[in-house]
């Protein structure tokens, strides 16, 4: 994979020589990644460090300034100390959030887990099923592929509106169809389970194309000969699927499931726009709940950061755990 391998500098060489050698050898690679690293450092890692620091304070929009300055009549500025300035509060933010004194951390986490589990399971299952079907040679294959991938091309907020419109209690197509077969209209957003159901359906609709395309790509990299020899040995289609397709897709699957989980966990627009947390905040997931708790009314920067750190920690723990399980099963990744 890599053409340049680092051979260790002789032990007698000084530090500066080592650096020099390292620079000579790697400067092209570093030059290629430096713009991206710089932008990420400024826009992701500085905010992250800043955010972690904020979690130990009680900063909000209102008490952010250490000094309040007012223009005096003579034109100069008079500054005096802000009596309500922010201060360090130690772990209070975390305690408040985790004990449920502010927000509904545990309820939101539960909803997020349901939301993520069903989202990813159906994304993967449906994506795999469709990929298997569309991988065969048949008429209209190209057309099916374009149609099935189309939801990917629709911006998420537009899909959110479209589905909210379809499930609208008075004007929606779904209720009209239900009425016409003699079922009463359902007030989809009045009930936690139905509201969450609509949101999950929207998210599934949105995310299947990516999975399908990624898995379709993975299938194309499985050598055809495997199928041929399996067929000669008399393997049934199901056996071929179980013993060739699935193992062949393992590397792709592992990657897209991890990415899908992270993306769904942090999926903001669907819940925010489709259910808006209705009824009464019951369908809030962590990211939307945190957003509303921290940014409605006076913007509470420290609270927002606390939630951010907690969400990030959950995902980090998950991915470390996930990779460990994979490694145990002999996956080199």
């Amino acid at each position: 994979m890599s053409t340049v391998t680092a051979d260790a500098a002789p032990p007698s060489a000084g530090l500066s020589t080592k650096l020099r050698r390292s620079w000579d050898k790697h400067w092209t690679a570093w030059a290629m990644v430096v713009p991206v690293v710089a932008v990420l450092a400024v826009l992701i890692f500085y905010p992250l460090a800043n955010g972690i620091w904020l979690t130990f304070t009680d900063q909000t929009e209102a008490n952010q300034l250490a000094e309040i300055c007012t223009k005096s009549i003579t034109g100069g500025e008079v500054c005096k100390e802000n009596p309500n300035a922010w201060s360090f509060v130690g772990l209070d933010n975390y305690i408040n959030v985790l004990t449920g004194r502010i927000g509904e951390f545990w309820q939101w986490t539960g909803t997020t887990l349901i939301w993520t589990f069903f989202g990813v399971a159906f994304h993967y299952g449906l994506g795999l099923g469709l990929a298997v079907m569309i991988h065969r040679e048949m008429r209209l294959r190209g057309l099916y592929r374009v149609l099935l991938v189309l939801p990917w091309a629709v911006p998420a907020f537009i899909s959110a509106f479209a589905w909210k419109f379809l499930f609208n209690e008075q004007l929606g197509l779904v209720n009209s169809v239900l009425n016409s077969i003699g079922i009463d209209s359902v007030a989809w957003f009045a009930n936690k389970s139905t509201a969450l159901f609509v949101a999950i359906i929207t998210n599934i609709w949105l995310g299947v194309p990516f999975m399908m395309v990624a898995l379709l790509g993975g299938m194309q990299s499985i050598p055809e000969e495997l199928y041929e020899s399996a067929e000669i040995d008399g393997a049934t289609p199901w056996q071929r699927f179980r013993n060739i397709t699935l193992p062949g897709l393992r590397p792709v699957s592992m990657t897209v499931i991890l990415l899908g989980t992270i993306w769904t966990f942090n999926m903001f627009p669907i819940i925010f726009l489709v259910t808006e947390g209705q009824p009464a905040g019951a369908t809030e997931i962590l990211v939307t709940g945190a957003f509303r708790a921290a940014f409605e009314g006076i913007r509470n920067y420290s609270l927002a950061s606390t939630y951010g750190v907690l969400i990030l920690s959950i995902l980090l723990i998950f991915s470390v755990f996930y990779r460990r399980v994979l490694r145990k099963q002999g996956e080199v990744w």
Binding site: L40, A153, F161, L171
Partner: protein
């Protein structure tokens, strides 16, 4: 560029999908299986395009028909909704802003993620593994939480209420994923090509530009598509950084049709169609390459 791709020993994955299809080996599929297969796919396609189609149909209905409860596919077709959106609002301006932001994000994003992906794929430099990890970790940041610190940085740079602030913010979302994907694709292009070019005296930058990039066109199409869509549909940063009506992007401008109570569905549907069309055009260009482009990216992660 073009002649490079026709040089004989090209071992990069083929971009025409039909080449590697599972051919039905035991003669033809039975009639029943065929019907089941097509039936399922037709049903799936209908579910995939149904909501889009319904919005398109609704956009041609007058307001009272959209707001009524009876199901009609077509009722008093009219362009009134489109006329309102196009001429009574700042739509053209928002549209232009969105085109600028999304195109810049796409072009700059492709450039950065291609160079980074290439470096990750070909050079074993110190910091390589940690950079890969960083890219994965950046996917985990909830945007809603990053907004405030980034807002502070942007205002320190004097970029608030400008389009570049959005481009920069969207690049931080798009580039890590795109670089990851491209790295996987570059991995699937044999290094013997690089070595041959290096023997001919090409510098690493030249190899990247003249040999590898042309071979990676499918993956680049997908990457570009992803970057474009990221920028095209994003709302959160746009609502935080942009303050005046003339700088709105489409995604954010459209929110004005969704007041808290009584959303104007008829205008919303027309606007939704108008927003989706450019994304659809980019999609049509990219879709041929979608599968082969994601292949390697997906397999190697």
């Amino acid at each position: 560029m073009a002649q490079m791709t026709t040089t004989p020993p090209i071992a990069a994955p083929k971009n025409d999908a039909p080449a590697r299809v599972n051919k039905p080996r035991r003669g033809r599929r039975s009639m029943g299986a065929s019907i089941a297969l097509h039936g399922t796919l037709i049903l799936a396609s209908l579910i995939a395009i149904g909501p889009i189609l319904w919005v398109v149909l609704s956009s041609f209905k007058p307001g009272y028909a959209v707001q009524s409860t009876e199901i009609t596919l077509i009722k008093d077709p009219t362009f009134a909704n489109y006329e309102y959106v196009l001429f009574e609002t700042n739509f053209p301006e928002w549209f232009l802003n969105s085109v600028i932001v999304a195109s810049l994000t796409m072009l700059v994003g492709i450039f950065f993620s291609a160079t980074t992906g290439y470096a990750l794929s070909r050079f074993n430099f110190p910091g390589r593994r940690s950079l890969m990890m960083v890219f994965l970790v950046t996917q985990m940041f909830p945007i809603s939480i990053l907004i405030v610190p980034i807002y502070t940085i942007m205002s320190n740079l004097g970029l608030i209420n400008t389009l570049p602030s959005l481009v920069i913010a969207y690049l931080t979302i798009a580039v890590p994923f795109c670089a990851w994907m491209l790295k996987g694709y570059f991995d699937s292009i044999p290094t013997s090509l690089d070595e041959a070019a290096a023997l001919d005296g090409c510098s690493p930058f030249r190899i990247f530009w003249r040999v590898i990039l042309p071979l990676a066109r499918p993956a680049i199409a997908v990457t570009g598509f992803y970057a474009f869509l990221t920028a095209w549909g994003e709302v959160a940063y746009a609502s935080a950084f942009i303050q005046t009506d003339d700088k709105y992007t489409l995604a954010y401008g459209l929110q004005q049709f969704v007041p808290q109570f009584n959303p104007q569905w008829e205008y919303l549907t027309a606007a939704a169609v108008l927003v989706t069309i450019p994304a659809g055009i980019v999609f049509l260009f990219a879709q041929k390459h979608l599968v082969s482009g994601l292949t390697a990216g997906g397999t190697k992660g």
